[in-house]
């Protein structure tokens, strides 16, 4: 049920690249493009008082979602939010201490808490859907809007550990001592993520991305069982828009990820684009994968790094330029400008010089 008319898309380059259709140039957006490297973001965040205050205000979330688009000719907006909204809505109490990562006030620390875990009432996440609606209106069809969630496993990491971790000891102890309890959490999470992403689509998200930020900490034989299997469940239920699946550190499992059902696979900066293209065999699109730290180089070197990434992916359809992980806090704004411009001009030239073959 659409509460308002949705303007036609003026720039659908991202959607065409995700569908592996030819595009005039390689579309680009950046993970965490609305973030602390932008002075205007910091100003809005100061108004909001806190990161969560910002994420929970549809008006302010819309404001920061659009900020990078006003500076750079990016090909997508991504709704300003957090990967951990679902466990927060489950009552675990998400909090961000200044300068630190996320922390849950009430992590899952015993069997009773795990047994009583349930998918949240989507009404508790209404601020996200409202922000998406407001963003769509504000975008007026300039570029597509991406919705997202943490993966079932990545949510579980924080829900069990209570915060980020070097070794995820609590989570891994649970996996090895009581794997059935971890599966119980993942099952609830998979249902919740699917419902959440579908509600985002209902609200106006035109692409969705699953951030499996911590799948890469799993043992080889565990990745399929504890992360990918639950992403597959989500993907099977969220089918109305193109889906991007990203596992940081997912290199060993790219072939499995590529058969997950997602239209596109996100690559981190350690992945070999040529090998990934070979594995994809034109069956899925690829997104990535410049090292976010490369933006600390002088502008000429940033442009050179961008060209190397574009050369490695090649001019064939199905590449979305992105960083291999979120943009870093102190990234010079000028580097981002140079990157976006270089991707546009060089990828156009690539297509001119080397006609698309595969």
């Amino acid at each position: 049920m659409e509460a308002y008319p949705k303007p036609a898309l003026k720039n659908d380059t991202l959607l065409r690249a995700l569908a592996r259709q030819p595009t005039e140039y390689t579309p680009i957006w950046l993970m965490r493009q609305a973030g602390r490297y932008l002075p205007e973001y910091n100003a809005t965040r100061a108004k909001a008082g806190s990161f969560l205050g910002l994420a929970k205000s549809p008006a302010l979330a819309t404001e920061v979602t659009l900020q990078p688009l006003d500076r750079f000719p990016l090909d997508a907006a991504i709704i300003f939010s957090d990967i951990l909204t679902i466990p927060d809505a489950m009552g675990l109490g998400l909090a961000f201490a200044e300068g630190e990562g996320p922390r849950f006030e009430r992590p899952l620390r015993d069997e009773a808490a795990i047994r009583s875990l349930a998918a949240p009432d989507l009404a508790a996440l209404r601020y996200v859907f409202d922000a998406i609606g407001e963003c769509r209106r504000a975008l007026g069809g300039r570029v597509p809007l991406i919705g997202f969630s943490g993966s079932p496993f990545t949510l579980a990491c924080y829900m069990v550990e209570g915060s980020g971790s070097d070794d995820w000891r609590t989570l891994k102890k649970l996996r090895h001592a009581r794997p059935e309890l971890l599966h119980r959490i993942l099952e609830v999470n998979a249902g919740a993520v699917a419902a959440y992403l579908n509600a985002q689509i209902e609200a106006g998200a035109q692409v969705v991305m699953i951030f499996d930020t911590w799948g890469g900490i799993l043992a080889h034989e565990d990745y399929e069982a504890f992360s990918l299997a639950y992403c597959r469940r989500v993907l099977a239920s969220v089918t109305r828009v193109p889906r991007i699946l990203f596992t940081k550190g997912g290199n060993p499992w790219l072939p499995a990820m590529m058969s997950s059902g997602a239209e596109a696979i996100g690559l981190d900066w350690t992945a070999d684009p040529r090998e990934a293209r070979r594995l994809a065999g034109g069956r899925v699109a690829l997104q990535g994968n410049l090292d976010p730290a490369a933006l600390f180089a002088p502008p000429a070197a940033v442009r050179e790094a961008a060209r190397r990434v574009l050369d490695a992916f090649g001019p064939a359809p199905g590449h979305v330029f992105n960083l291999g992980h979120g943009i870093m806090t102190q990234t010079p704004v000028d580097s981002v400008a140079a990157l976006v411009e270089e991707v546009r001009t060089y990828s156009k030239a690539l297509r001119r010089d080397r006609p698309i073959s595969s």
Copy 2:
């Protein structure tokens, strides 16, 4: 020049496995096997007063090096030391705050400091060579003694950043803004690591291992240039004993690592043993790769996990059982006992049931 007679080796299973020769069973040792999960280690460390005090006392380092061998029938000892002894000897001032990782008091923070960096006088590392000599005497040929160092790149990570990091921002800024300065550090480090490992061999180390703990944070196109190239230099100069090269997160670069000259490649827990065996094609030995967290499972599950790793590597020569990373602090001692016993008995049975073909 040997200052004392070295007894003949009674158990050379590790050396034969590293040479990809048939062995009666799969040898096993564990990264950080002399560590805080052992009550006797904690007792000796309390005597020493600190981690560095322990590492710098040849008598106490010998004591803890041998402790795990008195409990478990392991196939190797590894000298108790730290991967960061070289920068400490360069004058950067290594320190360990209680419960935290390593920290340098004087990290490399400007060009002048980098330009004046030089390989340390090996006399400053004499405590390591003395400990190796003393360990060899104390071992009396029971099993081989492994020496080690951090890789040139991993040393540089801590030397530039000053401590461990989530994103190695300072190091990565240097790599992108002033790559020639990072190369200068790596060059000095490579010379220092080679000299250091050769001196360890002179002192009695029968195998050496290069711990490239942080090579995995590098971008795909950077790993060869900033880490592997310098490991190759070390390997070219350290040739008298078998060499193991381990890059945590090195999955995307296993083929390159396998042609580095090292006799064996260490695999972290995310690596697929079957794929690694295929890539190795019998040309290098493989070491690994049980998830250290698997030792938190009940003993029956630990045994099952050990069998799965052995099945995945198969009975062909050239596998050294190990964890995919260091043993974790609170690991139950009984789990380690179950693991070591299971690896011995099951790998023997594997060889009986499935005669070695390749």
